[in-house]
């Protein structure tokens, strides 16, 4: 049915109402701006967090594509290529071929030579920003990191000479390349790529390698890797499976499971139970919604109640409830039209500013990660929609009031000007009594104010409790579970393990030992050895492997096969010094360092989680033999089982083997190698910074491949993190506090104004201004007191429940912010009502009575 065209008149009515209430609506606009700002900030931050994590994960998994398949033979690669180029859900794919691995002690990273197309290079985040990908001959594109390591200037056309290994046979050839492209590398990247030309790949592979023997370990040389992008990131898993069945490569590839989705995406889009961040985004959005709702709701209610007479008149003249409702709604929309566009850019700016803070997690101790931000329109659309929704919710009650407004009621309001309501018996009782009465009268608005202020307080308290709950020791323990400083080396070459174990040279050890500020310095040495298995050991490992072997990688499998065949179990032969010995944890009775050093004694580390309860490799006192690579062997008596701090041990999983600990002297004597794997320093309490400085000066300045894990750095990271937490929490509670105080201001202003006549009457009956002020302040105190009590109850209840903390601990943590907020609350409770009262008093008593 065609409706009558009454939109224009409703528009103009809404506009007039806006004009009349403009001053009050400025508050509403500010609230809408704040709400929008908070939503935009939240979504910008959340998206940034998400993207940053995704990018960091992509980097960690060394692939930016949606899925990859590695180690395909030439024949498989051809098949894959055919299918991929015909699949319509594959938007893009790249291929690269492993040609060789650099073997050069100058590299603190692993450099692989690949022949790759553009997409593949981009997949590895290694596309030349200067120059181009190689096209012919011995051209090469590498990162600046490689150039720096080789000491070559960043100029195209420069010559590079590198030792390259082209097969598993460990034969190295010296190759010369000419630089055709490079890009800015990242110092933390332990994997580096050298892109070579197809011509070079073809030449080298056909010449040096007899391809086709799949069982050989070096099958990866000459193998292909495909990186694939799909048209829908949410279907990565399905598409990958589909590709598997389409190509028939379900069981091919490095891991034998076909096309592997990029785990970064899988993690990112896993919104399951474990994803705390999505939940916290939802909770924060709800919090913002609630805060915005409380103030906007209050403003709308107040202005509608103020104008109720006019709404009533309109109803008498023939404006229907629906039309009045839409007049209110139009006002809300108009306010949104002003507020939201202001809030969006500011929110985005704040979001950008906070992005680094929110994107950092405690685990990201490396400075290497980059914060990814996005200005996706969806952020703004969502934020605007949320803000609109908030305003819509807030205006519901006001709409209901005007909709239900009865015309006669409005008439009565028009005829009889608000007569003062009758006071109860306690007219002269006390300011408090009257304040209580007033609060009961305005309970609805009161609840809103209390909730609003409570929200801010509760947030503040929660933040202080939650940050108090964070523990540096616990955090540091993840990276540094022993000592204040640890030193080891990050070196990659063809023989990775070897260099890792030989990190700290005797010279360095001397330097470290002579540091004045350290309390103790310890070292861990590690060498590969083996031992003949007796029946007991053999049974243990048979059992373990029978159960778990299928899940382990090829390397572990092979090691076990070899061990079983030769009956020689691999052994990690660890030498430790006194300082390390002191960090050991004994599983049964401890023994002394002297006893340990008395010769022929060894400890066994018990890290193997596959061991059954109560099961041990050796009984105390039992003897076992360790055979070294050079054929020598030694027999040790088992002294006890220990567990060693994780960070001091071998950093990779050691599944099939036993770790044996002997004193450092014994180690050096038996192996003849005095290079230590790790160094451990305990600083004299308070001297940590000096130790750090000493390490910088004496060690790092000489060898940059040494990696120092320092309590100082961790402390800094931790402090940063905690501060950011404080900052975000503080900011949030500040904004909420602002909203809360605005709400209080607004409510107080209107209640004082609406009681103008009543207050004047009281004044006329003999109440002094002082008493009246006291009464109003009492009211304010009660509101804020309720809010305080509510906030305390809420935080105590919630935090007590989630953190399992006792009341006294909670009280201790709340003490500081609580005491800090108290004067603000009191000032608010006193200042705002008094200001309003003062303003009202500018009119003469007679004037106020007449009104």
């Amino acid at each position: 049915m065609v409706k009558v065209e009454n939109r224009p008149v409703l528009d103009s009515l809404a506009l007039r109402f806006l004009k009349v209430n403009f001053r009050r609506y400025i508050l509403a606009i500010i609230s809408i701006v704040l709400t929008t700002l908070l939503f935009t900030t939240l979504f910008t931050g959340a998206l940034s967090m998400f993207l940053t994590k995704l990018e960091a994960d992509k980097k960690a998994y060394l692939t930016t594509s949606h899925a990859t398949i590695q180690q395909l033979s030439q024949e498989e690669a051809d098949r894959a290529k055919n299918v991929l180029s015909s699949c319509d859900f594959v938007t893009r794919f790249g291929a690269d071929q492993l040609v060789g691995i650099a073997s050069d002690s100058r590299f603190p990273f692993l450099l692989e030579f690949h022949y790759a197309d553009t997409a593949a290079a981009e997949n590895r985040l290694a596309f030349p920003t200067e120059g181009r990908l190689p096209e012919a001959g011995n051209e090469i594109a590498v990162s600046t990191q490689v150039l720096d390591a080789l000491g070559i200037s960043h100029t195209l056309g420069n010559e590079l000479t590198v030792m390259v290994q082209h097969g598993a046979d460990s034969t190295l050839t010296e190759e010369m390349f000419s630089l055709c492209g490079f890009w800015e590398g990242d110092a933390s990247d332990v994997f580096q790529w050298g892109w070579v030309s197809g011509e070079y790949a073809l030449d080298t592979l056909s010449a040096k390698h007899d391809f086709g023997d799949q069982s050989k370990e070096d099958a990866s040389f000459g193998s292909w890797t495909f990186s694939i992008w799909y048209d829908n990131v949410f279907k990565i898993r399905e598409y990958s499976q589909m590709l598997g069945s389409l190509t028939g490569l379900e069981t091919s590839g490095r891991t034998g499971d076909g096309f592997r989705p990029n785990p970064a995406y899988l993690i990112a889009f896993d919104f399951g139970e474990g994803s705390i961040s999505l939940l916290s985004v939802v909770l924060l959005a709800l919090l913002i919604l609630l805060a915005g709702y409380l103030i906007i709701y209050n403003i709308f209610n107040i202005s509608v109640k103020n104008d109720i007479r006019t709404y009533g008149l309109l109803k008498n003249v023939g404006t229907t409830g629906k039309q009045l409702k839409s007049v209110v709604r139009r006002q809300a929309l108009a306010l949104c039209a002003i507020g939201i566009p202001i809030g969006l850019p500011y929110g985005y700016a704040v979001g950008l500013a906070l992005a680094p803070a929110v994107s950092t997690t405690l685990e990201d101790t490396d400075a290497s990660f980059t914060v990814v931000t996005s200005a996706h329109p969806l952020i703004f659309v969502t934020a605007a929609l949320f803000a609109l929704f908030t305003v819509y919710l807030s205006s519901l009650q006001a709409c209901r009031i005007v909709r239900k407004l009865s015309p006669v009621e409005a008439l009565r309001m028009a005829d009889a000007d608000d007569c003062p309501r009758v006071f109860g018996h306690c007219l002269f009782a006390s300011a408090w009594g009257m304040a209580v009465q007033n609060i009961i009268r305005n309970r609805r608005q009161g609840i809103v104010v209390v909730l609003s202020v409570m929200l801010s307080l509760a947030t503040l308290y929660y933040v202080s409790i939650a940050t108090g709950n964070m523990d540096f020791q616990e955090f540091a323990g993840i990276y540094l579970d022993a000592g204040d400083f640890q030193l080891d080396k990050l070196t990659f070459s063809a023989d990775t393990d070897y260099d890792y174990r030989r990190a700290i040279s005797p010279d360095m050890q001397d330097a470290l030992n002579s540091c004045l500020y350290s309390q103790s310095t310890g070292y861990v040495y590690l060498a590969e050895a083996s031992m003949p298995m007796n029946d007991h050991i053999r049974t243990i490992f048979e059992n373990i492997t029978a159960e778990h072997l299928s899940k382990w990688s090829g390397g572990a499998k092979q090691t076990w096969e070899t061990a079983r065949a030769s009956n020689l179990l691999p052994v990690h032969y660890l030498g430790i010094t006194r300082a390390v010995f002191d960090k050991l944890t004994w599983l049964d009775e401890a023994c002394s360092w002297e006893e340990f050093c008395s010769g022929g004694h060894a400890l066994v580390r018990r890290p193997n989680r596959y061991l059954k309860e109560g099961e041990t490799y050796f009984q105390n006192g039992e003897s076992f033999e360790v055979q070294f690579d050079d054929g020598a062997s030694r027999t040790y008596t088992m002294l006890g089982e220990v567990s060693m701090p994780y960070s001091l041990g071998y950093p990779y999983a050691y599944l099939t083997g036993i770790e044996v600990l002997v004193p450092a002297k014994e180690y050096i004597r038996c192996t003849g190698d005095s290079f230590a794997m790790k160094a451990l320093i305990d600083a004299i309490p308070g001297q940590e910074e000096r130790v750090g400085k000493y390490l910088d000066d004496t060690i790092l300045s000489k060898d940059s491949t040494i990696k120092v894990t320092s309590v100082l750095k961790l402390k800094e990271t931790y402090d940063n993190y905690v501060n950011r937490y404080y900052m975000i929490g503080g900011l949030l509670s500040l904004v909420l506090a602002f909203i809360g105080i605005m709400n209080f201001f607004n409510t107080t202003a209107t209640t004082v104004l609406s009681r103008k006549k009543e207050l004047a009457l009281l004044e006329a009956t003999g109440m002094t201004g002082r008493q009246l002020r006291w009464m109003l302040t009492a009211e304010g105190c009660m509101y804020l007191g309720c809010a305080l009590a509510g906030a305390l109850a809420l935080t105590f209840g919630y935090c007590g429940y989630t953190f399992h903390l006792s009341v006294s601990v909670l009280a201790g943590r709340i003490m500081l912010p609580g005491l800090a907020t108290l004067p603000i609350l009191l000032l608010t409770a006193w200042g705002i009502p008094c200001r309003q009262f003062q303003k009202m008093r500018q009119e003469s008593l007679a004037d106020r009575l007449r009104e």
């Binding site: 049915m1 065609v2 409706k3 009558v4 009454n6 229907t320 629906k322």
Partner: protein, 299 residues
Amino acid sequence: MICFLLTGLFWYFFFRRREKKLLDRLQELIDTAAAGGQVSDDIAPLPRTEISESRFSLLENSLKRYLAESTLSATIPAKQKETIQSLISDIAHQTLTPISNLKLYSELLMEHSGGQEEEIFTIHEQAEKLDFLIRSLVMLSRMENGILNIHAQSGYVKELLDTVSREYAPLAAAKHISWFCTCDPSLLALFDLKWTAEALGNIADNAIKYTQEGGRITITAEKYTFFVRIDIADSGMGIPEEEQSRIFARFYRSPAVSDRPGVGIGLYLARQIVQAQKGYIKVRSVPDEGSVFSVFLHV
């Protein structure tokens, strides 16, 4: 393509249906309005079919308001007429007694006159005329207000004509006018004897008045299928054609006879009486030859 076509078709029928529905409603609205517009004052207007924000409801409301307004404007002149009539009626009633007295005292004066017979006679004559006029007016107003009851009954026309003859034949004879009245005694018609006689009498009186001495008046009755026609023919001066339609109007007097006595109410009254019995009167006349007044009464 087909989908597109189907959507198009759907919308076409959708809009067609809507348009048809709307037009139907509008037609219905106008029809009821037309029916409601003709009924008289006393019937309350029909309620609106819909009160909403729709344009249709607004249109309906406007139409109702318009109809109500126009009904009101139509009733206003009628009411005014009514008021005037009641005024006349009042005047007539109120003047009756003074005129009667006037007549009475002028007669008394005439009996004991002292030389001024001429003047007294004139006064008396004028009083009589006034009396006649007022009585006619009273009668008229009563009739027009429906206060006078005319009850038409089946009766013999002969009886009616005899009644008229009894009164007017002597008057005609006094003026040496020959009077002929012929009627089939079995002829029946619907009439109120007293009032119809009055009507016919007025016509006859007129005829006598405007026929010269030695003239002739003939009254005849004839039966038609639905009517009985009574002709009163005279051999008088006749009525010019342009006046024929006006002679039945109230207070109309032909300029040709303005010198003669009379108030111009007789023919009007006659027509009113006949019309009240659902009959009618017409006149045929040739100047200087005579006139024929035909009164048609229902059988």
